[in-house]
């Protein structure tokens, strides 16, 4: 596992840029590139994860020094196609691609009633005809990116920016990056994911990334939102909050959609607050050094108290957002960099 990302140094920007480019040619990076796409964290081998983290670490050091374009992927065109609303993920991908020097097409189809997936292959075909090199797609249907693959030519990469309840790999990677930044390796760490596990692609991508890295992942949800057979993903399930939080190194809170009450999946939001809302006193069950993550957007006062969300001694929420850019830069660079850099 890669060691804790090192803090700011006085390395000249030019040599950081060189190291950043070189990091795209390690064995792990090449192996990741051979996969062509980023559909989920379950597809990533250890050395590929290491490689992504290493490249993201360098990207973070670079953008802390300068927000100027690196002019690395100047001949590449990247499209973001969002069939579902997003603010942070989309702007994060956009910024990451532009910082690398790629041109970006943003396609926003979230406002229309297109949710049934009939047109996603048509949309992809249009973008490919326009000459894009990568399609970054978000869609409400699980498997929406897998569905594209049979019609994608070999020079185009598909990056999953969230498909239904299935996966959100760059969120998983940025959560890992953030936890490693704070606490080094996640191996042996207890990580509790709390909330609507059933409908969460963030939970799934985190579980698939963290379990193979040796983290002790616990999943806590109301009984109706703890999906059948979750133990087979290598996590320890809970319906009670206390044993999930006990001695935890990290707690990942998930967004609790208010419509789950209307759907009859929870008794009420107040009941949810009573049993599962995270606050300062409940966080005391975890380790004193516990840190809190949340993929956003927060339903303030439902899954966590505003005081906890805003307490920067515990909450890593803003750091997660910042880290989204270097992590997505890493994914884009590793997938799109030419085989030999000129």
């Amino acid at each position: 596992m890669t060691s804790k990302p090192s803090s700011a140094s006085t390395t000249p920007l030019e040599s950081l840029r060189t190291a950043f480019i070189e990091s795209a040619y390690t064995d792990g990076a090449k192996s990741f590139r051979r996969g062509r796409h980023l559909l989920d964290t379950s597809d990533l081998a250890h050395d590929e994860v290491d490689s992504l983290i290493e490249t993201a670490t360098l990207a973070k050091r670079i953008i802390r020094r300068s927000k100027a374009s690196l002019d690395l992927l100047t001949d590449k065109v990247v499209a973001t196609v969002f069939f579902e609303n997003s603010t942070r993920t989309r702007s994060s991908f956009d910024l990451a691609a532009r910082t690398l020097g790629a041109r970006v097409i943003n396609l926003d189809i979230s406002t229309s009633s297109v949710t049934k997936g009939e047109t996603i292959n048509d949309t992809a075909a249009t973008l490919i005809a326009l000459g894009v090199d990568a399609i970054i797609q978000r869609h409400s249907a699980s498997g929406a990116c897998h569905q594209l693959l049979p019609t994608i030519p070999s020079h185009v990469s598909v990056i999953n920016a969230g498909d239904g309840w299935n996966a959100h790999p760059t969120q998983g990677l940025l959560d890992l990056f953030t936890m490693m930044e704070v606490g080094g390796s996640v191996e042996g760490k207890k990580i509790a994911i709390v909330g609507d596990i059933k409908h969460s692609r963030v939970a799934r991508s985190n579980i698939r990334l963290l379990v193979p890295l040796g983290a002790n992942v616990h999943a806590c949800a109301p009984p109706s939102l703890l999906p059948e057979g979750i133990t087979e993903m290598g996590v320890i399930p809970h319906v009670d909050l206390a044993p999930a939080l006990e001695n935890a190194d990290f707690v990942i809170a998930l967004r609790m959609q208010t419509e789950r009450q209307q759907q009859g999946l929870i008794t009420s939001l107040d009941d949810y607050r009573k049993l599962w809302r995270l606050d300062h006193s409940r966080m005391k069950m975890a380790k004193p050094t516990v840190r809190l993550l949340h993929p956003g957007p927060i339903n303030r006062g439902v899954e966590l108290t505003p005081e906890l969300a805003d307490d920067i001694s515990i909450s890593l929420i803003n750091l997660q957002v910042s880290n989204g850019v270097p992590v997505r830069m890493a994914a884009l660079l590793l997938l799109l960099v030419p085989e030999v850099f000129k």
Binding site: G117, E118, Q147, W165, K198, G229
Partner: protein
């Protein structure tokens, strides 16, 4: 129909019900020549002499079975002719060894009126390659609310009644339907599923649905519904057939209900025998069917139930869908698998080649068993019997390629799979309707 057909050198299979201990798992075959003429099986003997006008099929060492009967086929046609028509569906049936198929009523428009049934019967007369017995819907528009004109529909030729694909959750309606069906001596075929429990689900609820992030259909959606419907049968004395049983719990309930003497029958599909949800390739919609492919333990329970004789029939639930519909995301793609052309090989490989049941027992589930479910004349290879005959090569190895098949649709998880066992010739109503590469015709 001119001339006669002579089958030379084949091995005649007598269907025997599974679980009765009558075969002890071993096959019982008789080498007999079979002549079909004048609309019946006219001669059966060890060595029949060839007549001048005979079409001779040399079937040495091949199996001769009564023609297969499928009691669960979606033939589409009408407004869904792009998926399948009575003609293409019956050609697929013939290639699979079927000489009779029962056509489901959830057509578009549904077969819920004498007008649509008349239209369907007309299309059957002009384009069916094998015998097609249409079902009529139990309720108008398959809405589960108002009963169809069951008496008139039965008189016109509806062989049974079913709202397949849209379960009747109102037990008062089901109860009345069973009473009328009893009066008309007809069976109600039930797609048993609690729609509230299964709502939104697109595959079995298990570690697989959880892994893929898709809404699951819990097995209790079927098991609980079967339990309720059994009690309605007990209360009404009607005849109910459970279509495509998929759960261990439902099997146990059906077994007990049968032991109680209720008029309950049940079928299982080849795909539920061959696959569990662990076999689903990620997001591959060819595996999406209703009821869903269940867990390995359910699959094992279904196979054990076949062996024990709990099932009366193996039925395909042949459900054609167009490519563009199945190309949608898993959650939105329609449910269904085409099966008429692969069913024999799939069940023969799993059940007979692996020595769980004898060939005679398998043939029972494809012929006599389904006939009994609907009260049809029981098919047999006997003098004077209906000339529906299927010639099988149990060892013929072939690769199923849906594009080379007869069905208009290709939605099968077995597409491209190497299979062994195949119908080599199908004779329906005294006419050769399918022959594998014409290899059997002697000069």
């Amino acid at each position: 129909m001119t001339g006669s057909i002579l089958l030379k050198g084949g091995l005649v299979i007598t269907p025997l019900p599974p679980g009765s201990g009558s075969t002890n798992g071993s096959s019982s075959l008789k080498r007999l020549d079979v002549r079909i003429s004048n609309g019946v099986i006219s001669e059966l003997a060890e060595d029949l002499e060839r007549h001048n006008d005979d079409t001779v099929l040399s079937v040495r060492d091949l199996y001769i079975s009564p023609g297969f009967i499928d009691i669960h086929t979606h033939l589409r046609d009408l407004n869904e002719s792009a998926k399948e028509t009575i003609e293409t569906g019956t050609r697929a049936a013939a290639a699979g060894g079927y000489t009779t198929i029962v056509a489901m009523a959830n057509t578009d428009p549904p077969t819920d009126s004498t007008r649509i049934l008349a239209l369907t019967l007309d299309k059957i007369r002009t384009s069916a390659q094998v015998r097609v017995l249409p079902l009529a819907a139990v309720t108008l528009g398959l809405k589960g609310e108002q009963l169809t004109e069951m008496a008139q529909l039965a008189e016109m030729g509806a062989v049974a009644f079913s709202d397949d694909h849209t379960p009747i959750n109102n037990l008062a309606i089901l109860s009345r339907a069973l009473r009328f069906a009893k009066l008309l001596d007809k069976t109600i075929i039930s797609h048993s599923e609690d729609k509230d429990l299964s709502q939104g689900g697109c595959l079995n609820e298990s570690h697989v649905s959880t892994r893929l992030g898709l809404e699951g259909v819990p097995s209790v959606a079927e098991t609980a519904s079967v339990a309720r419907e059994i009690e309605i049968v007990r209360a009404t004395g009607g005849r109910l057939h459970f279509a495509h049983v998929s759960t261990e719990g439902a099997v146990a309930l059906i077994k007990r209900a049968k032991a109680d003497g209720l008029k309950i029958t049940a079928e299982v599909t080849p795909h539920h025998i061959r696959l569990s949800d662990d076999d689903i390739l990620d997001f591959d919609t060819r595996f999406k069917t209703s009821p869903p492919l269940r867990s390995k333990s359910d699959q094992d329970a279904l196979i054990a139930a076949v062996k024990e004789g709990v099932f009366d029939a193996i039925a395909c639930d042949h459900s054609p869908h167009s490519r563009h519909e199945k190309a949608q995301s898993f959650a939105y793609a329609p449910f269904g698998i085409v099966g008429l052309e692969t069913s024999f090989a799939l069940v023969h490989e799993r059940l007979v080649k692996q020595k769980l049941i004898s060939i005679n027992e398998l043939i029972y589930l494809l012929t006599k068993g389904p006939a009994k479910v609907l009260g049809l004349t029981e098919p047999e290879i006997a003098l004077g019997a209906r000339p529906d005959v299927t010639v099988i090569d149990p060892n013929h190895t072939w690769t199923y390629q849906s594009v080379k098949g007869f069905s208009r649709s290709h939605n099968s998880p077995f597409d491209g799979t190497m299979l062994s066992g195949k119908a080599m010739a199908t004779i329906a109503d005294g006419r050769i309707v399918f022959q594998e590469q014409s290899r059997l015709t002697a000069k």
